[in-house]
Each structure stands twice: as C-alpha cells, then as structure tokens.
C-alpha cells in the first residue's frame, strides 16, 4: 500500500533526513520510533506532501502509494489525496480545531471535499463516524464548540476528521503525546481497532516503545535523521541488533519491583547541524570502536530485520 524508499529531505543546505525506507500493507501497523529530533515527524510530513509548505523538499528516494509515485505529484493533485486517501492525525488535538466553528461543520467538510457529499449526507456520515469512535451523543457534539470539550474528546474528533473520507493510509504523528495516560490507552486501542475493522494501513509515530509493542506489526527505529533498524515487532523487541534499539528497550520500566531504577541513554540527540561523522550514535554508544567514528555502517540483515551497525547483534 505504502512504500518509502531511501527517502532524503533537505531544507536548503542541510539534510535532516536521509536513508529512510519501509513498506506497509493494508491492515498493518508500522511504528516509527525515536527520540525528539530524530526525523519522525519529517517522515510523516514527507508522506503527506507537506514539506514544500515549510520550505523543505525531497531530494532523493521515492514514496509509492498504491502504485503511484508521490514525490513528483503536483500540489492540486496531492491536495485531493491529502485528507482523502491519506489521512493524518497530528500531535496537538487541543489546537487542531478552529475555535470559532462548531464540531459538526468542521468534520462535515472532509466528506464534502473528498467524497463529494451534500451537507446532509456529510452530516449523517459525521454522526456515524463519531459513533464508531465511541463519542457519546454524536448529534449533540456536532453543535458544540471545541472549547466545550476535553482533550481526549478533541483527539477523537481529530481522528474522526482523518477517517471521514475513508482513507487507505493513516499517519498518526504522536497521537497521544498531549493526552493523559488513561486517555492515551483508549486512543491507542481505538486506532488498533480501526486498523482491524477498516483494513487501514497505519503509520504510528511515537517515542513510546510500550505503545509500539502493543500495537505495531513492524517497527522502524530512527536516530539523527536516519533509520537505524527495522523489522517485525517481535524481532525488534526480543533480539534488537542495534545498540541504540537495545538502549531504548532498556529504558522501558519493567514495573517488577519497587526499587527498580529507571535507566536512560547518556548524552543527547545531536542536532541537525552537528550530526557526528560515521555512525551518528557512536558518541553515546557503549560498544563504539574506532571505525564507528569514521565509517557509516550499512544495514546488516538478520532474518526479517536489519540494523545499521558495524557490530550488529554482536553487542548485548
């Protein structure tokens, strides 16, 4: 359904994203994980064709959606896909709705725009979708203003807007970051349900490894603008090859004992202007050798997964 190959993005002279590849079929969930600034959101923006709006462009690689190359698509054509067959859920449900418009019209517009429905049909569809998202009293909600609703409710509305045109691919960019933990779990379960019921292909962008473990089929781990490991979720969690992935998984609290110490990864993510030479992770890597600071590692495949590390699988 969706295939991204060797994607490279540039903003002027700097290239914050390069060498990102993954593929996704219907009914599958792909998790993209990484710390802040690792290029997760840029990947989402690239798929949605939103880079030109913020001054970036795709300099290499391809994004193929349902057999169609997206990177060379003209904006008016892209606009028909965006919100239509390609849905996007963003990070900030609190501010993603127009404060002056009632909920109903804001959701209606998607079906009107992409499915050519009349106002009445669109409203019926809105009510139906709000219902499937387990929003109580969808009819009354349509006449509410965003400020009258809670954060979790708003996020459901935003999801409803992304779903209204019945997309094939849904990109969810940290859909739960702004929500509190109990609501997070509900939203994640909801997305998981939708993938199964509607045969969606979901790209779930998150920095929460436990969310990935619960919902995803495949995982791409990103670091400093590059994919450094990808594979089926079981492999990534049970036998991570890359030291960074191992460290990330090490960060998940086990909740086994009360005096368990939380472990972190020392150092910080390099910013785009000072990506280290060689393997970008080497300054923080406990297994780094001399070669790591000079040569960029290629992917080492093991089974269905692959890791970009000179010592993939060797370190534990």
């Amino acid at each position: 359904m969706l295939e991204v190959r060797d994607l490279e993005v540039a903003f002027g002279p700097i290239a914050p994203l390069s060498g990102v590849s993954f593929s996704l079929a219907k009914g599958e969930t792909l998790g993209i994980v990484g710390e802040s600034g690792s290029g997760k959101s840029l990947t989402a923006m690239s798929i949605m064709g939103l880079l030109p709006l913020s001054g970036g462009r795709i300099t290499a690689g391809s994004i193929i959606f349902d057999g169609q190359e997206l990177t060379t698509l003209a904006e008016p054509v892209y606009r028909k896909l965006r919100g239509g067959r390609l849905g996007l859920i963003t990070q900030n449900p609190m501010t993603s709705l127009d404060p002056l418009q009632k909920i109903g019209p804001q959701v209606d517009v998607v079906a009107k725009l992409h499915l050519g429905m009349t106002s009445r049909e669109a409203r019926a569809r809105t009510i139906e979708i709000l219902g499937t998202l387990r929003i109580p009293e969808p009819k009354t909600i349509c006449d509410r203003y965003p400020h009258q609703m809670s954060g979790g409710m708003k996020q459901r509305i935003v999801i409803a807007m992304a779903l209204a045109a019945d997309p094939d691919v849904l990109v969810a960019d940290e859909p739960t970051t702004a929500l509190d933990v109990t609501v997070q779990a509900q939203i994640i379960r909801l997305l998981d349900d939708l993938v199964k019921k509607r045969d969606l292909a979901l790209v779930l962008i998150t920095h929460d490894m436990s969310v990935v473990a619960q919902t995803c089929d495949k995982v791409v781990v990103m670091y400093a603008g590059r994919a450094i490991e990808h594979g089926p979720v079981e492999d990534i969690f049970h036998a991570p090859q890359h030291p960074y992935t191992q460290a990330l998984i090490g960060c998940i609290p086990k909740g086994l004992s009360e005096d368990e110490h939380l472990t972190g990864i020392p150092g910080t993510v390099p910013t785009v202007v000072n990506y280290p030479k060689g393997c970008a992770f080497h300054p923080r890597c406990k297994a780094a050798q001399a070669i790591c600071s000079t040569d960029r590692p290629g992917f080492v495949t093991k089974g269905q997964s692959a890791a970009a590390c000179h010592f993939a699988g060797a370190v534990q």
Partner: protein, 290 residues
C-alpha cells in the same frame, strides 16, 4: 459566509453585551444608539426645515422657539445639528465600511499568498500611511472635486492602510496556528481556508478598529466640511456649519459651538465604546501587534 456571520453574531451576543456591562460602556453605547436613531429619523424630529431661511431672524441667540439659536441666514441651528448627524454618520460609516471591506480583502490576500503581491501591497500601504490622513483625503478631493461622494471615498482611502495592515497581521499570525495546518492536512483548498477559517478568526479586531475609525472619520469629514470640500449648501454637516459660523464667531458663537460639541461628544462616545469593546473582547494585544 455563514461562519463569518456567526462570528459576528457571536461578537454581538457576548462582546457587545459585555461592553454594555460597565457604566461607561452603557453611557457611550446608549448615546450612540440615540444618535443613530436621531440621524435615521431626522426628517421627522427636526422642529424646523433645516434649509429654510428667515433673514429677519438671523443670529438669534438660543431661546424659544429656536432652542439653539439661528445662524446668519436665520436657519434653526438645532435642526441643522440634528440633520448634520445624518450627514456625518452616514458619510463616515459608509467610508469606513468601504475601507474595512477593501482593506480586509487586500490584507487577507497579502497575508495569505505572500510573495511579490504582499510586498507590492504593503509598500503602497506603508507609503500612504506615512502621510497624514487629512493630506491623503485632501489630495483625493482635489482630484475628483468636492461633494459628499468624493468626501466618502477620500475618507475610505485615507483609512485603507490601517485595515490592510491590521488584517494582514492577523492572517500572518493565524497562518501559523495548528488548526490551520490541520485544515491543510485535510486537503482543504486555499479559498476554503481563507474564507472559513482565517477571516472569521481575524475579523474581531478589525471590526473594533473599524468602529473606532468611525469616530476619526467623523472628525475628518468635519475637517473637509470646514474647508468647504464636503457637503455643499444647503445640506448641513457639522464641519460646514462650523466653517460658516467662523465669520460671526463673536457675534453668534452658538452657530459654531453646538456643531463642535456634537462632533466632540460623538467622537468621545465612539472611542469610549470602542475601548469597552476591546476590553470585552480581550484583543488589545492583537490590535497593537499590527
């Protein structure tokens, strides 16, 4: 367009009633409503024909039957002040409406599309803003000749820069908001984003500044009238009345005082109510930011 009107309706329901909440707002607002009603029903409430001359009775001091006295031609000052409200208000309100609509369209387009168009519009706007309003209005009247229509357009052009700048500033600020990005993510067309989301959210400060500008417009109209460029005799306007009164300033000061008081009180009321509106809408920062 429904969303624009609902935004304005929302403004009326909440902000205007809140502006009426303070005693200052009540007095100023009450006076303005009274003034508008007076202007509308002027032909029925004036005690004398505003144009009827009575040379035998010229320069009569305030008293009975001419409550505010008469001018040099014996015309009733009260009737002329009341009828002058009609001229002043309609000229100013029409001019500012034109200014607001054109300014919003220009500012919104400049702010939304940016690029060369924005630079061109803003250069012209900044240029006109660097001249005093009265100068721009005078130049314009000089080009198309005196009269009420040209006064109206002159005032409209004099205030165009203000609304263009203000609208552009609102649009530029709103463009960065998440909900606008979210709308783009849904595949909405630029026209939809502009008309349904950007303008309704930008309109409140523009309307309030427009309301305040009606006060300035009245002063500008009076000034042009004072120079003899506005309403032509016998149509009364506050500025023209003051102008004709200057000759008899010491003989019959009421001819110039009462229209002057009318201008002053009206402008104060407009400003006070405008201030209350700004407070009620809590948009002081947005107006200053322009």
């Amino acid at each position: 367009m429904t969303s624009i009107s609902s935004a304005v309706l929302g403004l009326r329901k909440t902000a205007v009633s809140r502006a009426f909440g303070s005693w200052l707002g009540r007095i100023a607002g009450g006076f303005l409503i009274l003034l508008v009603l007076t202007a509308i029903f002027a032909p029925w409430i004036i005690p004398f024909d505003y144009a009827k001359q009575d040379l035998m009775n010229g320069n009569a001091p305030p008293g009975w039957p001419h409550l505010l006295g008469t001018d040099q031609f014996g015309r009733d000052v009260l009737s002329r002040v009341i009828y002058g409200a009609r001229t002043s208000l309609s000229v100013s309100a029409t001019a500012i409406s034109i200014s607001v609509s054109v300014g919003m369209a220009l500012g919104a387009a400049a702010g939304y599309f940016g690029g060369f168009f924005e630079r061109a519009v803003m250069t012209v706007v900044d240029l006109t803003w660097s001249f005093p309003d009265i100068l721009i209005a005078l130049i314009f009247v000089a080009i198309i000749g005196p009269g009420l229509t040209s006064t109206t357009f002159a005032i409209a052009i004099a205030y165009l820069a203000q609304f263009t700048r203000l609208t552009r500033a609102q649009i530029v600020r709103l463009k960065g908001e998440t909900f606008i990005e979210a709308t783009i993510n849904l595949g909405a067309k630029p026209s939809h984003i502009l008309l349904k989301h950007l303008l309704p959210n930008a309109i409140a400060p523009v309307i309030v500044v427009g309301m305040l500008a009606i006060g300035d417009g009245i002063v500008l109209e009076a000034t042009l009238g004072f120079f003899g460029l506005g309403a032509q005799p016998p149509t009364p306007s506050w500025g023209a009345m003051m102008s004709s009164g200057t000759a008899q300033l010491f003989l019959s000061p009421w001819v110039i005082i009462f229209p002057g008081v009318a201008v002053a009180v009206t402008v104060i009321a407009v400003n006070l109510f405008g201030d209350e509106l700004i407070r009620a809408l809590d948009i002081r920062d947005r107006i200053k930011g322009a």
